[in-house]
């Protein structure tokens, strides 16, 4: 072998070693991104009881179970989205239906955790009880990486729900008067069938048509989106359902009045067995007209005066 070819061989080996080394280093640096663009690389946490969720741990779960509808970028534009109604949540807007917090505020980690576990009835969001609690907590953290609002704002304070007073025919009767006065029937219909005069024109905040809740349909509670206890129903009209036409009544209804309204709404579920329907049956099946107490008109005039001044 000539000196020249030896030199050549040496440099070739050296080049090979260097290239192999660099290649290995490159392979170590590159994250496993797979065929899709990876989600945001921010780190977020969630706190549910004594569980702490970490966003980076939910990456694979999100991509496998959530991205099909909610999209890789969390914008609600997954490959299934064109065929879904209602549309999947767009996490980049950080607007959520089921909250324990006032309208316009971020939900608590618990609210999101419960939504994942409960699913959203009348939609394509299933009950994700196949996940462990830790997986759900991690997913809550992951969802929070999609909107900068989670870094700038704190979640709202959960609303306080006072103890439920006993169901009486008077509370049902007052609830009915409130249903009329607050004009719930404009969308939900006089019998709560979701057929009020404004029902046909309703759209959600993305301009997709949306139906008001039909209380009278079905025999059970399974169609309530955000939980089916009396306290859950109370919560709905105090917090509103953000991103939909359902507003918050927090500023216009007193706690006890709100419970009366819940009792009346239960009687709209005509096919469901409930304490409210039992009380109504015992009272002869008819809701008596509500007789306003003397102080009610006085407070109304007071409100009106306050409303007229700036």
């Amino acid at each position: 072998m000539s000196k020249l070819s030896q030199k050549h061989l040496f440099s070739a080996i050296l080049t090979f070693i260097l290239a192999a080394g660099l290649g290995a280093a490159k392979a170590q640096d590159a994250p496993d991104v797979g065929p899709h663009p990876s989600g945001p690389e921010k780190h977020m946490e969630s706190h549910i009881g004594n569980l702490t969720g970490h966003s980076e741990n939910a990456k694979m779960d999100y991509r496998r179970y959530c991205a099909g509808c909610h999209g890789d970028l969390g914008d609600g534009q997954g490959e299934n989205t064109p065929w879904l109604d209602p549309k999947p949540r767009n996490f980049t807007l950080a607007t959520f239906k089921c909250r324990s917090t006032l309208t316009g505020t971020l939900p608590t980690d618990d609210d999101l955790f419960n939504t994942i576990g409960r699913g959203l009835t009348n939609s394509n969001m299933p009950i994700w009880n196949t996940f462990t609690k830790q997986q759900r907590a991690d997913l809550v953290a992951y969802i929070k990486t999609f909107s900068p609002r989670w870094e700038k704002e704190k979640a709202g304070d959960p609303i306080k729900i006072p103890a439920e007073p006993p169901v009486t025919i008077e509370s049902i009767s007052h609830g009915k008067a409130l249903f009329t006065k607050l004009e719930c029937w404009k969308c939900h219909g006089p019998q709560g069938k979701g057929d009020g005069p404004s029902a046909a024109t309703l759209t959600d905040s993305q301009d997709n048509p949306i139906r008001p809740y039909n209380f009278a349909g079905g025999k059970d509670d399974s169609r309530f989106k955000c939980g089916s206890t009396n306290a859950d129903i109370y919560k709905i009209f105090i917090t509103g359902v953000d991103g939909t036409p359902m507003p918050s009544f927090a500023d216009v209804i007193q706690p006890n009045d709100a419970w009366d309204l819940v009792h009346f709404l239960r009687t709209l579920q005509v096919n469901r067995h409930s304490k409210e329907n039992d009380v109504l049956k015992a009272a002869g099946g008819k809701i008596p007209a509500y007789v306003e107490k003397s102080e009610v008109p006085a407070s109304q005039t007071e409100n009106r005066a306050a409303g007229g001044t700036n």
Binding site: L93, T95, T103, G104, T105, K181, L182, E183, K186, C187, P197, S198, T201, L202, T203, S205, G240, D242, G243, T244, P245, M246, P247, S248, F249, A250, D251, V252, Q300, N303, R304, A306, G307, G308, N310
Partner: protein, 232 residues
């Protein structure tokens, strides 16, 4: 009485030099072409509102005046006059006859908004904010005013879901130098200290236009905007 007048004048002169010596940008907003015809609103589902209008009202997406004047255009300083502090007085947005009065309001980030329900029916006020927080509040007749603020500059579409024809706009700006065109199409942005400014004119359907203006002293600069009407 007589003694207090010079005092007030002196106070204004010391506190607000810009008010006394600033420049002004003023002009007119017009359109070319044929604007789309506005639709008549059927309020028969809400008799308490319908009876307030002798003649049927129309949608207000495009409102024009004599001599091709374009109304409801927010003209504001988009660069050069960011002021940090919101004015202390509130901006009022009234629901009357199932219409928003005015159709467009402008307010500073952090400035108080008062929403008044002057009707005998419930409204829900639903600003469809994307940058700011989206909220949705019910306001039955006789309720107190709703008081709110917006933190970020944004043009927010506002609607009432109960009365789907009701539609308005909140123009949330980083400046209090703004003017909304009325039936003469005119705008005026006074009290501008010398400097370079970008003036933006925004219309809900026709979009935005900008022009740069330099103010050197106590002068009035005249600029006009002309939007091309959309055929649909």
């Amino acid at each position: 009485m007589h003694a207090s007048k010079p005092c007030i004048a002196m106070l204004i002169a010391t506190l607000c030099p810009a008010l006394m010596f600033g420049g002004t940008v003023s002009g007119k907003v017009t359109y070319t072409g044929t604007p789309v015809k506005q639709k008549a609103i059927d309020m028969s589902k809400e008799p308490s509102c319908a009876k307030q209008h002798a003649t049927p009202v129309t949608t207000e997406t495009i409102v024009t005046g004599a001599n091709n004047v374009l109304e409801n255009v927010v003209v504001y300083i988009s660069a050069g006059a960011d002021d940090a502090n919101a004015p202390s007085q509130a901006v009022t947005f009234t629901q009357k006859g199932c219409q928003y009065i005015p159709h467009v309001i402008a307010l500073h980030t952090g400035q108080e908004l008062q929403v008044v329900n002057a009707d005998q029916t419930s409204h829900n006020i639903h600003p469809l904010a994307k940058v700011n927080r989206e909220w949705n509040k019910s306001q039955p007749p006789g309720s107190p005013n709703i008081q709110e603020k917006f933190d970020q500059p944004e043009f927010i579409s506002v609607k009432c879901n109960i009365h789907p024809w009701m539609h308005g706009w909140f123009a949330v700006l980083k400046t209090s130098h703004y003017s909304i065109t009325g039936d003469n199409g005119g705008f005026s942005l006074p009290n501008l200290p010398p400097g370079k400014y970008t003036i933006t004119a925004w219309h809900e359907d026709y979009g935005t236009q900008t022009q740069d203006v330099t103010i050197t002293g106590n002068e009035t600069k005249s600029i006009d905007f002309s939007f091309k009407a959309k055929a649909y």
